[in-house]
């Protein structure tokens, strides 16, 4: 193992100042424990890169956002022009804005891969239920933050997206209308709405940071799951220190990710955006098609596939909340889909179903797309409520290996 001397405690080299601080505030011991020694399964594949990637994108979003906020004006008369001022007159403003804009898409891309990784390898199963829950809380906060942020440039889609989404709350019986008025701070989406959305858009990322901390505490309590889904505590040979093995592996993954991210920022910065959002908001003119950003499309499809407004809203929120029940809906003791022949099929079908929902969400809701969206919505819930509980009960999993070292050595030889 690595014997290089890090100034942090635990390494052989002593540093007076570090020791002095660490004796009073054991921050170096903590960092050494959690970032250096932290025992990690030795067989993590590249799908395990996406957690740290998500953390890095969060930091990129907060930093770029802080600089955007310095030049942005949250007022209905000035918001659109102030964003264009950032694009045209602020030094490297276009770069900061495109980093932030594309960063949102990258964040969701990374987080969705991270979630599907968890679904495939059963990372939500005991003892990681709360870890899973905290991750879902982060997802919900991300969706709220992204929605609020999309409103800020005050383009046509900003305005009408805000109108459609806030109006969902009017489906609540009896108190729906007052709630919407309360959310708007008036009787339509207007300046008070924009002001509070800006305030909340600045606040929520720091709430996300807090939940990420809890997510990490929960993660480090029992350690990472792994592609085999077996406990690695039994065999000491199964674990390796996080540093240098996973620091360097994460850095490599980060490099690949940044190439893709930069390609969008510099060469196709508006690839994910809707052109109509470069038209200033006009409350008197509805765009021909109101669609959310791609990362919300599957949920939008679920909302629109149900003819009743209240039921649609319930289904949309239910699609996320059902994920909280996953550790109990899937009662199989085996975590990794590698050893679950039927669940593995279900996983891929479910992934395709989510992509189909995303496609349906972008279409005009009539005819074939609406029907396909409805079928995909039905399957989404069927997967969780019927198929998963049944499969986890009746499926015969393949034999699990004793430890990581056994199969790893076998495949290395092959």
């Amino acid at each position: 193992m690595s014997t290089s001397s890090n100034p942090a405690t635990g390494a052989p080299k002593k540093n007076g100042i570090v020791e002095w601080i660490d004796y009073r505030l054991p921050i170096f011991t903590f960092m050494n424990h959690e970032l250096r020694e932290y025992p990690t399964p030795k067989n993590l594949n590249y799908w395990w890169n996406f957690g740290s990637l998500a953390g890095i994108v969060l930091v990129v979003m907060i930093l770029s956002g802080i600089f955007l906020a310095m030049n942005y004006t949250a007022h209905v008369d000035h918001a659109f022009v102030s964003v264009e001022r950032i694009m045209r007159d602020v030094n490297y403003g276009w770069l900061i804005r495109y980093i932030h804009m594309n960063g949102a898409s990258m964040f969701f891309l990374v987080v969705y891969i991270h979630i599907f990784r968890g679904l495939y390898y059963g990372s939500y199963k005991p003892p990681r239920e709360l870890l899973w829950w905290l991750g879902l809380v982060i997802l919900i906060l991300m969706m709220a933050t992204a929605f609020l942020g999309y409103v800020l440039p005050w383009g046509q889609m900003s305005f009408w997206g805000a109108t459609v989404i806030t109006n969902l709350f009017s489906a609540i019986p009896l108190v729906g209308e007052p709630i919407v008025t309360w959310l708007w701070g008036g009787f339509s989406v207007d300046n008070p709405t924009l002001n509070r959305f800006f305030s909340l858009h600045y606040l929520l990322p720091f709430v996300i940071v807090g939940v990420v901390m809890l997510h990490l505490v929960a993660l480090h309590t029992h350690g990472s799951n792994n592609p085999l889904g077996i406990d690695t505590k039994k065999n000491p040979k199964d674990s390796i220190p996080f540093h240098p093995y996973y620091t360097v592996k994460d850095m490599f993954g980060l490099g690949v990710f940044l190439v893709i991210y930069a390609a969008f920022v510099f060469f196709a910065p508006n690839f994910f955006g809707e052109p109509v959002n470069y038209v200033p908001a006009n409350p008197l003119q509805t765009p021909s098609e109101i669609v959310p950003e791609w990362y919300l499309l599957p949920f939008y499809a679920i909302l629109r596939s149900i003819p009743d407004k209240l039921a649609g809203v319930i289904a949309m929120f239910g699609a996320i909340f059902i994920l909280f029940l996953l550790p109990w809906l899937d009662s199989s003791k085996v975590r990794s889909a590698t050893f679950r022949p039927i669940y593995k099929q279900l996983f891929w079908i479910f992934l395709v179903d989510c992509i189909v929902l995303g496609w349906a969400g972008a279409q005009h809701p009539e005819g074939a797309p609406l029907l396909i969206g409805r079928l995909a919505t039905a399957y989404y819930f069927l997967h969780f409520i019927v198929l998963l509980p049944l499969v986890s009960k009746f499926e015969k999993p393949r034999a699990l290996p004793e430890s990581i070292s056994t199969p790893v050595l076998k495949t290395e030889k092959a």
Binding site: E84, Y112, G255, A263, F266, F267, W294, A362
Partner: protein, 257 residues
């Protein structure tokens, strides 16, 4: 490991494409043919001569109805105009000063390089009143604000045709192949010889459309050249860095197997 990575990245990109393409394909039946622009591709730059000709068209034709409020005269140096030329262009308009004078009156003065392009109408109502009820949109962002971008704008400007048999075109409306619904309130803005170029370039409608579209694309994305130039450097650096880290990663992991 490298095979593992390829396995990891391909589905991710596929997912990306699958999720984002439909949003753009949703727009409908009108075919917008792709044009080859000087600014196409990752290394494309704006043809300066086309920019200047395009600006001339905007000034002499479009600006009669369309504002470009986000562009300032000082920005025109990017087209290859000298500071003196820009000053002269700005001075050719009269604007009302934003600040009152010592007497508290708002006076008219010559335009300055720092002023934004003077709008043809004082407000939307005035624009509509002068245009048969239609509102000529601000052109500052027009290529970014339309599906199809520059290709769409070119198709629109060259898309005026006689209406197909059986279709009645109401008074004040015109048939256009590329406009959604085909009825547009804008009269055909370009005609052969609509402007006189100083550089002997042909003044056919397709050439005029190409030049003014180049200019309007620049107006929407003035940062594009700098963005692409920087992008090439950033991506090359990242590729190099990632390669080095990959070698480092293999070295670190070698002793483990």
């Amino acid at each position: 490991m490298s095979i593992n990575l390829r396995r990891a990245l391909l589905p991710a990109l596929g997912l990306l494409a699958a999720l984002s393409v439909p949003a753009f394909a949703a727009e409908g039946e009108i075919k917008i043919p792709k044009q080859s622009w000087s600014f196409s591709g990752p290394l494309g730059t704006y043809d300066r001569a086309a920019l200047q000709r395009g600006f001339q068209i905007y000034k002499e034709v479009c600006s009669a109805c369309h504002a470009m409020s986000l562009v300032a005269y000082r920005n025109l140096t990017a087209l290859g105009f000298s500071d003196a030329e820009v000053k002269a262009i700005a001075a050719s308009v009269e604007v009302q000063d934003k600040e009152p004078n010592d007497q508290g009156e708002y006076v008219m003065r010559q335009g300055r390089a720092a002023d934004h392009f003077k709008a043809p109408f004082a407000n939307e109502q005035a624009a509509r009143a002068a245009n048969n009820g239609a509102y000529p949109p601000d052109l500052s962002l027009i290529t970014k604000a339309r599906v199809g971008g520059s290709d769409y704008l070119y198709a629109l400007l060259t898309g005026y045709k006689p209406a197909p048999a059986g279709m009645t075109v109401p008074d004040g409306m015109y048939y256009n192949d590329s406009f959604l619904g085909h009825l547009i309130a804008m009269a055909p803005p370009l005609s052969d010889g609509a402007v006189t170029y100083a550089d002997n370039t042909a003044t056919t409608v397709p050439q005029l459309a190409k030049d003014v579209t180049t200019f309007l694309t620049w107006a929407a994305e003035p940062e594009m050249e700098e963005r692409k130039r920087l992008g090439v450097k950033v991506v090359l650096f990242l590729l190099l860095m990632t390669g080095v880290i990959f070698a480092w990663k293999r070295k670190v992991w070698k002793d483990l197997h």
